[in-house]
């Protein structure tokens, strides 16, 4: 909880190095590989932000598309009026406020209500935005013209991913992180030692929502023309859940293990078999539940535990793999 252990210093250094290496990519390619890398980094940012909240609470949030769309729209509406960095901050604030409202309505009760509420949230926000647009303006969408290139977007998303990682790391060492650990162990005990459990969850959800909204804001210039159906595409929420759970949410870097392969697979499927994307998504969900409930990182950890057990039979009994 206090100074950095050598292990932590090493992880931080390694993380910084990997991000620096990844940042070099646009120098080598600015076509297909950059384009798919933007997707990968986008989903990396979204999935780690998602796991920031859903990892410790086990609440499946489907609000990602709503936050993302709000971020995109803040840029779409404000690009002619305000400087871009300010818009990113505004997007973050809007995301946090939205998350706060959703959290306040649902996180005080039980987890199921939260899932149901977020299930239709993107659709709700999409309808509201569409309604407002048709009511108060003639155009259905918004144009976003900027000087931003694919490389800029890539770098910004990479920086955002780094920021999410750093934030998770800092939260884990904070009162909030400790509170989440206690809640994860026993919510009744948590309340009786003095943790405002609902408030802790809401704060965490707001941080997560703010990051997702920033990701949407950063990606906005990529669309050029923003329409409600693309900005609030509910598929984004589901893909984020799949990728994060595929990787595993116990470790900070777990979601990344799911993001990279699945983004590539989805890219391949949607360009070659566009009618089959739904089926692939469905199968992915079933695979997560039945085959790899703890994600790939969970599998790796179990394998590692088995390996250490075999090589050191005298060691203390490991936790039983579920």
């Amino acid at each position: 909880m206090m100074g950095l252990t050598p292990q932590e210093t090493k992880s931080l250094g390694l993380g910084a190095l990997l991000i620096a290496l990844a940042a070099l990519l646009p120098l080598f390619d600015d076509g297909f590989y950059l384009s798919i890398s933007v997707n990968i980094v986008l989903y990396a940012a979204l999935c780690t932000s998602w796991a920031l909240f859903s990892g410790p609470t086990h609440y499946v949030s489907l609000a990602t598309a709503a936050f993302y769309g709000l971020g995109t729209y803040s840029v779409g509406l404000g690009i002619e009026l305000l400087p871009y960095p300010l818009l990113l901050l505004i997007a973050a604030a809007i995301g946090a406020v939205m998350a706060g409202l959703v959290g306040a309505a649902t996180l005080r009760i039980s987890g199921v209500y939260f899932v149901i509420f977020t299930f239709g949230l993107a659709e709700l926000v999409r309808q509201l935005v569409t309604w407002t647009q048709t009511k108060f303006s003639t155009a259905m969408g918004l144009y976003v013209f900027t000087e931003m290139t694919e490389s800029h977007i890539y770098w910004m998303l990479l920086a955002l991913t780094g920021a999410v990682f750093l934030t998770s790391f800092l939260i884990a060492r904070s009162r909030l992180g400790f509170a989440m650990t206690v809640i994860g162990n026993d919510e009744t005990v948590a309340r009786h030692v003095g943790i405002d459990t609902a408030r802790s969850k809401i704060i965490l959800f707001m941080i997560s929502g703010a990051f997702i909204a920033i990701a949407g804001a950063i990606t906005a210039p990529r669309y050029i023309y923003i329409e409600p159906p693309s900005a609030f595409n509910p598929m984004i929420s589901f893909l984020v859940v799949i990728m994060a759970l595929l990787g595993g949410t116990k470790r900070l870097w777990g979601p990344l293990v799911g993001v990279i392969p699945f983004t590539i697979v989805m890219d391949f499927i949607s360009s070659n078999f566009p009618n089959h994307t739904m089926i692939v998504v469905g199968l992915a969900f079933l695979a997560i539940v039945y085959l790899i409930p703890h994600g790939v990182t969970g599998l790796l950890e179990n394998a590692q535990a088995r390996w250490t057990k075999r090589s050191a039979p005298a060691a203390v009994a490991e936790e039983k793999p579920a």
């Binding site: 909880m1 400790f178 003095g194 405002d196």
Partner: protein, 242 residues
């Protein structure tokens, strides 16, 4: 001087079942009060009302003259009410030290970092677990888990400590250790309410006791006279556990 804890006509109804029926009593500063009664008499529900695990249907509960009934459990904990649970509840993925720290970090004292860790160490020594601070609590024996739970409750430096059958399930030698531990806390001036079935412990430890039966308070006062009260005897004789 205001009482440390005042219960005024507290009532809890679950649908048609009245688990606590207009119970009133006070706990003085530094007093050890025994809350006793046959199984199902509403003792644990009473503790749940005090700690905020359940909101009372009617009546009020005051801590040092300030109303705490109606507040959520975490707010009551921060005001200075700590408790243990009838069926021991530890945080299984954490070690003993971290378990105890949770009480210091989020409770009334709200310490952080080294300060919380220091308190945890002192209290683990206190309950006799000084050498097992980094043992995962999931691997501990029942009595040691109970000790961790007590240390966690003490870590918040509570104004009122609630013990829900903390001595239950201990073997005779453990029971002696447990009784002397509670006695020590009492001598230091801690205000304690204990729900207990172990009558020897009640006799040797408590200043006063409150007897409940079918949700009502049927007697209150010094331990020996209350236990010889005819109504109390009747309540217990009607019950197999007496």
């Amino acid at each position: 001087m205001t009482a440390a804890l005042s219960i005024r006509a507290a009532r809890k109804a679950f649908g048609g079942l009245v688990a606590v029926n207009d119970v009133s009593f006070e706990v003085k500063q530094g007093e050890l009060l025994g809350l006793i009664g046959p199984n199902g008499s509403g003792k644990t529900t009473m503790l749940n009302l005090i700690s905020g695990a359940l909101p009372p249907t009617a009546g009020e509960i005051l801590l040092d003259g300030k109303r705490i009934s109606g507040l959520p459990a975490h707010a009551i904990a921060r005001q200075g009410v700590s408790r243990t649970f009838q069926l021991v509840r530890v945080l299984p993925s954490l070690d003993a030290e971290e378990n105890v720290m949770s009480g210091a970090v989020f409770g009334r004292v709200r310490l952080w970092g080294e300060d919380a860790r220091r308190i945890a160490r002192v209290l683990l020594d206190r309950v006799g677990l000084g050498d097992r601070a980094h043992m995962p609590v999931a691997a501990m024996t029942y009595i040691d888990q109970k000790r961790v739970e007590l240390a966690r409750a003490l870590a918040a430096d509570p104004r009122v400590l609630l013990l829900d059958e903390w001595l239950a399930g201990l073997n005779p030698s453990e029971l002696q250790i447990g009784i002397s531990l509670i006695d020590e806390l009492h001598r230091e001036g801690r205000t304690i309410v204990m729900v207990e079935h172990v009558m020897d412990a009640i006799r040797s430890l408590c200043d006063r006791c409150v007897v409940m039966s079918s949700g009502r308070m049927i007697a209150e006062g010094g331990v020996s006279e209350t236990l010889s009260d005819p109504e109390v005897v009747r309540a217990y004789l009607g019950d197999d556990d007496a």
